[in-house]
Symmetry: D2
Subunit: 366 residues, 4 copies
């Protein structure tokens, strides 16, 4: 077993911005008064569909056991419902900021939870301190992502995510879609698989356990040419965007891990005379650049670590202890994570789209 | 089938830098006179082991069918074999810059190859223009990565990569290692699996086909505390680093995609009294931050698209055609990609380590 | 006369972040409900002196004719009065958001004011739209700067700014200081000069005119070694920091513009045997790097464009018109700008200090 | 006198890149084999006028007493004389890398020279180590700047710099230009002033002394709308660009330092009915954004510290010593610096132009 090396404590929680031309900066702790964000770099003159954003947050709320207040207060950057080009700041108040539940386990390390690394890295062991690791932070991503999606939709770009696996229940036909995804809260493209998934979630709930899942995401009408050839491949940036979501453990696009057992003669996508391809093993990205085919990828998430069963653990003094969670917790990151995957995808894509426009050579084209 | 939307041509191949505090900038085309790079942000006073770097490049050369010249010319940043802190520039000359082979297929789209997207994005359809997409570019990453590894080794951090799957030949015990990896060029941790892999490669070679693979990577002695909680999670940055390698299709760390079928009660890593964990399903990263356990992850690569079989395709005018590759090409990205995975991992980790040092609160610690 | 070329309208107001390791993101319009900011990258464990921050804002308020509310609401990143390392967000509510004054001149171009370029660049001609150009935005810089100053003071680094010129009233001995600066609101280091300055301001006030000024800034105990040799010279970064303040027209450090008429034999700073220098013409920065001597520089600001005199102008249709300002406006950016100069200096210096720490080679030092 | 505080040695010379969308990375020491650079982000399809670049370097060479070889070797990014969009790398070999002159003063601190701060910051006291501080590095900026200028000229943007002061010889009419600048190597807009300047330089030369200067720069046909309102003001970014040049001590645009003694009623630029302004005290930038008027600014440079007179100094052990320079050195940074100012201006402007294009809202315009 390797000995844990600890460099120093009193570090800093940097890395709260994502994107360069369209940049979201996130702030707030799950147990503080607010979480919020600032979007810098949103083009001026876009009509924001506030109802659509509120509806996404409402869906998030009703499918969760945690009682979230998701009323957005817009602080800046909008006039008459349109973006002005100035930074768009918003806050969302938290409810039940300090619950008794959290206080009781003030010295216990929760298994697979952030509190150990936060303690060692930041010198703070507290419900508030580790509040940046909470799933609550993803509300900020979702709001920013909705704005990005509304911009992308003016280019006809459409992003949708689906639950394609929970435990043994698997939708195997991804990325071939049906219309059935709209009829269940998991957005599983098969009604029968969705029923199995919901049954599994209910079993977990009764046992006080949690479970992982796999989310598939599809982007339609993505123009050819987004992504840069070397380090900033579209696939690399999408991967970072999705792997930055809490509990994400894996990312693949196109054939993904199956590529390891495919021959070139199988895997290559042959061209039609209109330059579309007969197959789409590459998943819409070739050499790091979108090629005009359907973009599709999947992300796997681990089970939420807070379970309703007693777990053996230690406290910060190294004494054996038992951790017993209380409060209300979700049994799976899906369906809540669906809009987060879409949001991070949208923020990634809008950055590449804006960069594309920067370099377009309009006054030199014949 | 979706209609391909093309925004504009005459774009730019940006994104040739990686890292912020330790930044590699890469340049050069596979068929130009040189490829090279500039490392900015390398601490002063490090003794460079040039023999070690040359040996990595020599290994790369002898395991490849492509004849590469890998003689590094160091242009700046070194004095008496030590880094001065100034930018370290280097170039590596290319051999056989313009071969007859490349000229003959000047109007054909090669299936699953970069040339279609390069043509549409940059307005250039040429062996030289798409030379940035060549595997040749990875030499630059390897040289920079060796420098990063030598710095990390002063912190006792050790990075090793292994071939753990080629086709049906799988090393299933990853990340549990043996000493056998040193005895085969694929660095497969099992001699018997390595033999199967080599046999598969030989079959591919005879059929003129290519095949994908899966690489595992292990980092020992990584200190606790690298990675930032929200967007710049260590897992997210490692994912981007690895997915930026040519032909990469998937990334996972810890239990990876298996997480989708695990229960929280199974997946959680319980603590020992010394704060180490009884299991390591999290793969060394908790909440985006290294937790002092062994870091491990895998990356899947698709088969090299250039195969020695005739493939149906179209030319740039949309006429049907047959593409017949010639020249000497590898049948799998492994073993060449092994040092590239290690390099990108090292460059990612050195950036997080330097950032860690920036924020350490030395004069406020009691 | 050159013809004005206008590229496009509907642009975006990016560039609302400053710094990389310690980054302030600013948001809010002068006539919106709030202005505010997010500080990302502030080290954990710093005790914030809220009284000191409030006092700076109170000073700002009482020396201004504009009625500002400067009550800070802290949203995140603090616990028990200490920084946690998480992003620190704060908002300050605006008073009198929409005054009748502003509405009346809704189609007039105000001379030397932002509204013309905002209209042409963003397609918005409105009191709100140009609200990012207001001096009100600088409150955000001041709050972030106070936090940076408190961190720097733990390294004993001390930043002070002074009014050294208003019109014909000049303090010529800068950077040689006296204790008299504390005794007047302009922080002019000479009581007698301060009296002249105040008299000039009063005359302006009575004439309905405004006037420019020159601010000097001194940094004591800055360690040797901040700044990078080529593009990121400390002098270059300080210059950008200060020139980003509204109304700034000029920056110089050390001998500044006088350098153009000095001989090398005059200007060179000769060394004492303890490596200090006999003179300090370089102003504390040599080859872009702090050299341990006193850092000093000056910044000039133009007169505030809003004067209480009628000005001939045109409206957005190109018709001749007369612009008559109303409301309460300051006659000079000093004294309000003093804390802004200190803030931008502090934010610039903390970034260089954190970068310094990143690269320090602690485990290789003997 | 303040005590010099030294944090640590063994730092790093970061900050060798400038620009984000169009980024130049510079490398090489004045006494190493090469200096060179990499331009990342140059749009594809631009025809490079190599003769123009060579001519700029030739002018630089013939006006300098230092014997420079300025033969550029292009390594990548070009095909058939056009940019491909890939990174453009180039190197320029150095002559006379290690001269006997440099070796003799291996332990002396040269007054106002980089070697003291380099020694303390990087732990290296050597002609090579401090080679990054040499004026030789500016060749890289000039080459990159020429490429940027050629792109800008396709937008009709024209950048020219002039010597407007050397010692007592001053061209007072700046920015009002004549045609006389083309007729003297200093590009002074008045022949008679140019003669005085040249006489001063000759006197300096005979006395073994050096002298400072002031450079004026004018940009014609700059479109309205470049620059961002808050931190990334065009004026702030130009200031950083110019102050990053070796020996720069001051920057001002428009009325500059004179603003401190102007009234608002004097300084405001009144509008004509075509939205041009009757005066141009703002120097082409209003609220940080180009307003379509002529852009003009000046930069002051200190005298070159290496003079041909004996100077009292100390060695690294703190012993008194006399420094006696030898070799051939210039007496003023002008005329060599003229093309450097133009280059940094061009690189700054192309970044703002590309950013402008990113955000233009083409598909929402009516």
């Amino acid at each position: 077993m390797q000995k844990i090396v600890i460099l120093h404590n009193f570090d800093i929680m940097a890395g709260n911005s994502f994107g360069d031309l369209f940049r979201i900066t996130s702030f707030g702790e799950s147990h503080g008064p607010y979480i919020g964000g600032v979007v810098d770099g949103c083009p001026a003159g876009i009509s924001i569909d506030f109802n659509a954003i509120n509806e996404v947050l409402r869906q998030r709320q009703i499918t969760s056991k945690r009682q979230e207040s998701n009323t957005i207060e817009w602080l800046s950057g909008l006039m008459d419902g349109k973006t002005t080009g100035a930074p768009i700041a918003f806050i969302v108040p938290n409810k039940n900021m300090v619950s008794a539940d959290y206080k009781q386990d003030a010295t216990l390390l929760k298994p697979s939870h952030a509190n150990y690394v936060y303690w060692k890295k930041y010198g703070i062991f507290d419900y508030w301190g580790s509040g940046r690791a909470s799933g609550r932070e993803t509300v900020v991503r979702v709001v920013a992502g909705c704005i990005a999606k509304q911009y992308l939709s003016s280019y006809n770009i459409d992003i949708k995510s689906y639950t394609i696996q929970i435990g043994e229940a698997v939708f195997a036909d991804f990325p071939n879609m049906t219309d059935e995804a709209e009829h269940n809260i998991l957005h599983c493209p098969s009604e029968s698989v969705a029923k199995k998934m919901l049954a599994i979630l209910e079993q977990c709930n009764q046992k006080g356990d949690t479970i992982g899942c796999k989310i598939g995401c599809i982007v339609k009408n993505l123009p050819l040419g987004l992504g840069e050839p070397v380090f900033d491949k579209l696939s690399a940036d999408l991967s970072k965007a999705c792997m930055s979501i809490n509990a994400a453990k894996a990312f693949e696009y196109g054939v993904g891990f199956k590529a390891a057992q495919m021959y070139g003669s199988q895997c290559n996508d042959l061209y039609n005379t209109d330059f579309s391809t007969k197959t789409n093993h590459n998943g819409g990205i070739l050499a790091g650049i979108s090629n005009g085919e359907l973009l599709y990828f999947t992300v796997a998430f681990k089970p939420i670590p807070t379970i309703m069963q007693n777990q053996q653990t230690v406290d910060i003094h190294g004494n054996m202890a038992v951790f017993q969670a209380c409060g209300r917790h979700d049994v799976c990151v899906s369906p809540k994570v669906l809009s987060v995957v879409e949001a991070m995808t949208a923020i990634c894509l809008i950055n590449h789209l804006l960069k594309f426009k920067a370099y377009q050579n309009d006054n030199r084209r014949s």
